[in-house]
Symmetry: C2
DNA sequence: CTGTTAGCGCATTCAG
DNA sequence: CTGAATGCGCTAACAG
């Protein structure tokens, strides 16, 4: 079904059909004929061809590192909110934490019909910079700092520092050592800033984060589990495990449960109250970043940091639309704050 | 930058450039000239226009109800796996659990350059059926049964029944009543089949699921929290709360924690061991569906059902590619089984 | 191997 | 108000 065929069937020109579709001048009579034919044939104009012509898709592409994440879904919720209010739709591409796929999808969006791109960033490689510099369509980066595009990022250093202070204070009461499970240093926000901040926060309270007590994990629960388990095996004086994300923290919690299990007397293990026993006796605290609601719900909450993820989505989308619609040219970088979350039931 | 300009700059025809880009015959000499010009200009061909011409995008669109879900990410992981192996890419559209948005995005994908669509289904309305019947591009539906498209769904009834049996058996030991938190009946798989199965499973063990012990929730933790809290307030003899999804179950767990809190003696509440106290004393069990790994990690696991979500993604993508590439015409519907998961630490 | 010529499906001049 | 003509950027014959 093309616009031409419809035109023939309705006995008008294709231009008339086009006008009908786009609210141009068409006499009531022809309008009716066209309406009928479209109705009957179930014709749908090819947005595809339309965009080739008009260069306007009312669509933005969002590249995300993964799909199953509360923080990312909060960002996309923010984006979607302003987009839909302004008549745009949103397409997502997930890279499964593979930076090279990010490039692939960025290029895909660049050449497919989207008016702009939002990248929820993990690492900014040379390839990324090259893309950002040359992109045919406007891009905004959320979650990482870069000077090659409009960007919105969080105060990861400040958040890390606040958490470091909190942990240090706690440690003075509890005794023992703190461990830290971070992520790749290639991620400047989560891997570097957050950890540096944490270290500095501890230090400001006079406590050193010892190298042997630091491990690196992927952004998964599973990876957090393994890192924490290793830590537990190697160091017996750990009282707090701080994790770079709440997801990793969930893995750490699992590891603590699993590890403690090994040391429970058989009688307790068999009694069916193992879990309670563990919770009562392991005495190892876990902290995270991200304020994951799921984790809070089922555990009652751990110390964590709330970032304005939804806000960053909102601001990011606004920034993007500003350059798409108003051709705003002056570059912008925005840093968003945070809020330390200490569960009420703690302490 | 168009192919024409590149051709001019390189002193060749646009066809030569096109061939260069697509691996056709080009002399080494011209190849070099073209390469240089493209290098210098940073030219990227418009996939957009290419597709208009070739009708082949090597892209499939996936419509999902939400982004932040373990089960859905398992499905998309399966889809992505086979897609990338066969040279396709995947675009996601999230509808935020709004069926009317599903239609919007289905239409969007129908007219934008994708070779096929996968719908991870929630409800199949008349609008949906109409779309499926008339779609210009092939569609496969995952998670719901429909005769209007190739579909892959899970044995929700069987899973519900198995869980119903398990709960009934447990109840005979524990005493008390079972409650059920379901979802909208418009969702035939999760809302109807799962619940009907559950009811029937209980009944087969001689126990009736009483209407007063049944509530409906959204697909969110928050909604599960409220439903469970209501239940707890209204009925004092509940020993098991079965939930239609693990996410709802997480909310129920939170509710049990919160509710029990209200009845804890002050001294205990203040002593800082409140959470342990609750776990020891509430004695209310929760079950779910979906085998959420996050939930399992931080709680040690609740009785739940493992569906082959990733498998359904794999099969779904294969089905779609079969019709895209081989023009496979005979309709297929597939039902996938399940596995009951009982945590080892339970009982 | 190469350039010329037609469109893909649509929106937009520009004369009527 | 309307239709014929033109071209968006690219690829696929086709004839060199």
């Amino acid at each position: 079904m093309t616009i031409k065929e419809i035109a023939q069937l309705a006995g008008v020109s294709s231009a008339a059909v086009s006008r009908y579709l786009n609210g141009g001048y068409v006499s009531a009579e022809k309008k009716e004929q066209i309406r009928k034919v479209i109705e009957e044939t179930g014709y749908r104009p090819s947005a595809q061809a339309r965009i080739l012509r008009t260069k306007k898709a009312c669509l933005v592409g969002v590249v995300v590192p993964k799909i199953n994440s509360e923080s990312i879904s909060r960002v996309t919720a923010g984006i979607e909110q302003v987009l839909s209010r302004r008549g745009y739709q949103m397409l997502l591409a997930s890279t499964d934490n593979a930076p090279e796929k990010e490039i692939t999808y960025l290029k895909l969006f660049e050449n497919y019909p989207v008016d702009g791109i939002i990248l929820i960033g993990t690492v900014i490689t040379a390839e990324h910079r090259k893309f950002l510099k040359n992109s045919k369509v406007p891009v905004v980066v959320i979650g990482q700092y870069t000077k090659y595009a409009n960007c919105i990022y969080h105060d990861d250093y400040g958040a890390g520092k606040a958490m470091g202070r909190l942990v240090a204070a706690e440690l003075e009461k509890l005794g023992g050592k703190a461990a830290y499970i971070g992520v790749t240093k290639e991620d400047k926000a989560v891997g570097v800033a957050r950890e540096d901040g944490f270290r500095s926060g501890m230090k400001s309270e006079g406590i050193l984060l010892e190298p042997d007590y630091v491990k690196t994990a992927e952004f998964t629960m599973d990876s957090g589990y393994h890192a924490a388990f290793e830590l537990l095996k190697q160091k017996k004086d750990i009282r707090i495990i701080s994790c770079a994300t709440d997801t990793i923290a969930a893995g750490a919690i699992e590891a603590i449960l699993a590890y403690s299990t090994q040391n429970i007397p058989r009688s307790v293990a068999d009694s069916g109250t193992r879990m309670q026993y563990i919770l009562n006796n392991s005495g190892i605290r876990v902290t995270g970043f991200g304020d994951n609601q799921f984790l809070k719900a089922v555990t009652g909450g751990i110390p964590t940091v709330h970032f304005g993820y939804k806000t960053s989505g909102i601001r990011g989308a606004e920034l993007l639309l500003d350059v798409i619609e108003r051709g705003e040219k002056i570059p912008i970088e925005m840093k968003l704050g945070f809020r330390l979350e200490e569960p009420k039931t703690e302490k």
